[in-house]
């Protein structure tokens, strides 16, 4: 068995305008790590 984590790529903005959902990856300065290939994400 290998460890497999599933990301649903859903995200939102809370009342304080913070990103909610997979923040560490999506906000990475490494563009490959930050890739969101479903094209549903935009930089906060």
């Amino acid at each position: 068995m290998r460890e497999l984590t599933i990301n649903d790529q859903s995200w939102s903005i809370d009342d304080e305008e913070n990103l909610v959902g997979d923040e560490e990856r999506l906000e990475s300065t490494d563009p490959v790590e930050a890739a969101s290939l479903s094209y549903g994400y935009a930089r906060i």
């Binding site: 068995m1 290998r2 460890e3 497999l4 984590t5 599933i6 990301n7 649903d8 790529q9 859903s10 995200w11 939102s12 903005i13 990475s28 490494d30 563009p31 490959v32 790590e33 930050a34 890739a35 969101s36 290939l37 479903s38 094209y39 549903g40 994400y41 935009a42 930089r43 906060i44």
Partner: protein, 335 residues
């Protein structure tokens, strides 16, 4: 495992919403779009339609199919939809032409979302549990995919979208594995072999700025030439694209340039299609996101930010896990 079937699968449904009723089985569904022409088209199909500027008038908890033809996703757009359940179709990230937008929405309605989720669960179960490499074979393709021990994938596993969720249609239609970072290209998967692709897509992330956006523009022209000369043959060694040719022309250097030459043609994405029942409806000349999940596997290069993201889509092949001995047809039900 048997796949649950609808009494009226999307291709035969008399309901103009088609497969979208699987996602939003209760209550009214609204198409919301940023484009009046596309809105007139969806309204003409008998679907409740609103323009982006009318979103405030929708009831709390509404089910929304959001078609972005003119806009890339933005913080402002996401904020407008916090009180809804949203299926997002980011058309502008691929090709905003009206015929492509109409085609894309037609495939969105004809997608069997229950079956796509069944495939996503199949892949999660088997990639986690099968020790041997995954092999795609047939119709000229022979590709071996070995996986790391601790990996992640992008996918949506449950058919319904609840209030507050923002799910892009690709999360249903593909089980997407990506390289971890520029420091670790092969930590998730390692690829060796040959792929014959019928389709090719170009996509741009909303975060792209120059010179990445300029590379995307050049990639769109390159795509048109390659698809016209297709099918395309890709050879991969240790996760790197060694060559790609179509119609006897070598496009390797051109592909490297538009996807960001710093990446040296490392494969960024191993995308496994979960929407193969769409295949008879696919037109490979369209740069439509819905095409990628209709083939059993696609390989992506570039991330769409510093250069184009380009997906090469295999139209037909089979797969097996080495050592398992079971060959799975790409169009068959997951077992």
């Amino acid at each position: 495992m048997p796949v649950p079937r609808e009494m009226n699968p999307p291709g035969n449904s008399p309901d103009p919403w088609g497969g979208l009723r699987q996602i939003f089985p209760e209550g009214e569904i609204f198409v919301v779009t940023d484009d009046a022409e596309l809105g007139a088209h969806t309204a003409g199909l008998g679907l409740a339609t609103a323009l982006l500027g009318e979103v405030a008038e929708l009831p709390d908890g509404a089910s929304v199919v959001l078609l972005l033809r003119n806009s890339l996703v933005s913080r402002d757009i996401r904020r407008m939809f916090r009180r809804f359940g949203v299926l997002l179709v980011p058309i502008a990230s691929f090709d905003p032409a009206l015929d492509v937008a109409r085609y894309t929405f037609d495939l969105v309605r004809h997608t069997d979302y229950e079956r796509a989720c069944e495939w996503n669960r199949y892949w999660a179960r088997n990639i986690a549990g099968q020790p041997g490499p995954l092999v795609f074979t047939g119709h000229g393709t022979g590709l071996e995919c070995a996986f790391g021990d601790d990996i992640s994938a992008d996918a949506w596993m449950n058919t319904r979208i609840d209030v507050g969720k923002w799910i892009s249609v690709a999360s249903y239609c593909e089980f997407s594995l990506t390289a971890p970072s520029t420091r670790d290209w092969r930590g998730t998967f390692d690829l060796n072999g040959t792929v014959v692709a019928s389709g090719l897509l170009v996509a741009q992330d909303a975060r792209a700025r120059e010179p990445g956006a300029a590379r995307v523009r050049r990639a769109r022209r390159l795509r048109a030439e390659m698809v016209a000369r297709g099918p395309m043959t890709l050879r991969l060694r240790e996760g790197v694209l060694a060559s790609v040719e179509a119609g006897g022309v070598d496009f390797t250097d051109a592909l490297s340039e538009v996807t960001n030459p710093d990446y040296e043609l490392h494969t960024l994405e191993l995308g496994i299609g979960t929407n193969m029942s769409l295949l008879p409806r696919v037109d490979w000349t369209f740069n439509s996101q819905l095409n990628e999940g209709a083939g059993p596997v696609h390989l992506g290069f570039g991330e769409g930010i510093t250069g184009a993201h380009m997906d090469f889509i295999v139209a037909e092949c089979e797969h097996r896990f080495e050592g398992d001995g079971v060959v799975q047809q790409s169009h068959a039900q997951p077992v």
